[in-house]
Subunit: 412 residues, 2 copies
Amino acid sequence: MSRQAPTLEDVAREAGVSRATVSRVVNGVRNVDPAIQDLVRRAIERTGYAPNQAARQLVTRRTTTVALVVSGAGDGSETGGKEDGHRRDRQRRDGQRTDGEGVGREEANRGEVNRDGTSGGEVNRDGANRDGTSGGEANRDGANREQIAFATRVFADPFFGRVVGGVVGHLRPRSMHPVLMFAETPETRQEVVTYLRQGGADGALVVSTHPDDPLPALLAEARLPAVLFARPGRPVPLSYVDLAHREGGRLAAEHLLARGCRRIVTVAGPLAVAASQERLAGFRDTLARQGNPYVPVAEGGFTVDSGMAAMTSLIAEHPDIDGVFTANDLMAQGAIQALRDHGRRVPQDVAVVGFDDSSVAVTCRPRLTTVRQPVEEMAATMSGLLDDHIRGRRREPTSVIFDPELVVRDSA
Amino acid sequence: MSRQAPTLEDVAREAGVSRATVSRVVNGVRNVDPAIQDLVRRAIERTGYAPNQAARQLVTRRTTTVALVVSGAGDGSETGGKEDGHRRDRQRRDGQRTDGEGVGREEANRGEVNRDGTSGGEVNRDGANRDGTSGGEANRDGANREQIAFATRVFADPFFGRVVGGVVGHLRPRSMHPVLMFAETPETRQEVVTYLRQGGADGALVVSTHPDDPLPALLAEARLPAVLFARPGRPVPLSYVDLAHREGGRLAAEHLLARGCRRIVTVAGPLAVAASQERLAGFRDTLARQGNPYVPVAEGGFTVDSGMAAMTSLIAEHPDIDGVFTANDLMAQGAIQALRDHGRRVPQDVAVVGFDDSSVAVTCRPRLTTVRQPVEEMAATMSGLLDDHIRGRRREPTSVIFDPELVVRDSA
DNA sequence: CCCGCACGGTAGAGCGCTCTCCCGCCCCTG
DNA sequence: CAGGGGCGGGAGAGCGCTCTACCGTGCGGG
């Protein structure tokens, strides 16, 4: 088709030097006569040369990518639910289409486009056996739905956007890029490991959504460079960044007390998650130390709905509440809705303190007073740690703990 | 360090066959005696062989990745604003740290960790000249902040999470992965082009946040495989997927009319964006055809705040409104807040119809009646189109237009 | 009986780059 | 003026894979 892309060889010929010299110029290495450097650079310009990554990777054994993996529970049965509302209450109006199925117009010619190319004979060249992975082909669609739902759900929490921001912020100046992977089943987890073993990426940045995510252990066992966001449920010899969650709980408690709240409750995160426990512990301890030994707790699932449900039950049992601490902002939003539904004004009747300082904290009304987690910085540091491990600058697992900060807005 | 990873050669020796045979087995190609297949597979097992991607890519000229690029405006001056609130209203409580700066504990040993490794002499080996890109090193931190902010902002809109979900849903069954890139400045845009030209990825999936994003044209000019989400501002010979926005506006108008609304206004998206114009046009036309020639319009910026502001001004000028159509869900949320602040009940006094059916549609109260955009399917189709282009199954630019659907919930 | 031809496998030539040697030159020193 | 030591540059050996020849069987048909 289009003529071959120019190679080092071509540039060398054009500039009248050897391949090695061009390589040196391109990589900015060693002492090359400025005049020749110029010569070479001009030749590069003329030929429109772009170094072939694959060839470079083959010899350097380094890619320019790291895997950014969002890792879920474990067995493939996974969460589910939650998202149902989206579809269940939909209602058809125009009789044209069966279910959001698109239609081609203009020059469009759909034909074989949409139906997962299960047609051709070149199937073998694709996903299936391409790399010794046996599975493939068959259960595509089933796994597919799961996949989409998981990814969508993950990014519905603004938290992950901040992680991505922090990671990219660190990677980009180093000309590196994250490849996005989701690992919520044994197969997808294996895929991550395989991908790294094949040299698809130099290491992994792992954000788990579940306490006993087996991925970190797999990675550690395969001796692949990896850094975690948050301390793993079971100890694993990997570096990680985390927040002083206990401290965050303390900040929330102190703020509510300082405001004069006396009948305080809390909506905790999933108690299987260490972070949830620590936030709760820090909150409780502080309250207890100030003479409030008993704090009603309801457990939520870090979602708006669960926050609303938890708050509703708390209101029922303790109608005279005047302060609430929720373990994240999404649940705070839900709690506020529940409080409002029960005729409580926020913050006049009940003060609410969230956690994270995510984007909803400023978009919801009243704007949330919350415990800020410096997610972007944590993510950037995570990325830096991985870099260190990859380059061998650091061998031992290391952890970096960040301090939370109280951000006072309108809700408390 | 750890002993070399096993190669094809090793496996071949172990199995007592030739390299080529092992390769065939691994790739599931052609006729290989089942007995030998078994032999080879066992040898693979024993050696723990994983094919080296770089080597394979070098000869096949195909990677297993596509770039998923979120592309912003143009000149680097970019939006800004909006996110300020996050930080401005923060308040310090404990005197320990200067500004969300983390602190190392446990085995932590920060030292050179955080400060962007501006130390070593191996700088040259990194981002800088590594690929002829001259820039680098210097303005790292400045560009950094921009970068982080952009990425965070982008993912604050649940819309992008759905795009990612759709893309991954299509890619994963094919053992492909998206590498995430943000292109909001001329440099970052060039980086995307360079990355593709270097063979870092086989093609690009582009989601623009701005109408006259120059990236599509750059990509087309470089004859790189690329597919866009939404029709580009200026015509560009690239495939794209899009929604029948006009149709969406019509659905919203019909619903409000059917509900009996008569004093209807609308909060449009940025009018520079084609989609905004079309949604508005469809909405207006339908209303006009039903005898409502005049529809007050306020322009928003697709954010909660802008929706609130727009709605506030509309209320001021037209206190007797009974129906609103907003060009996306985030603005609907803002509009509802504004309406509530002005003592209007939704939907009793004013009916509100959003657009997108994003996750906020179900989390906000009242839950949003909205025009659903099948983003996941659109993204999956976009991905499929790219695949076709990459494999040469499709040469001409193609567009696929999807139909929106009305989802009735509580707000109208 | 021999030819042709599938079938199952091997040999080996690259893919485009990096990097270690090595060599020739110039300058400095003894 | 000989000898040593940079320094700038070239030659060439791979990196690990794919894939195009090509070759040796065994078998059916002329």
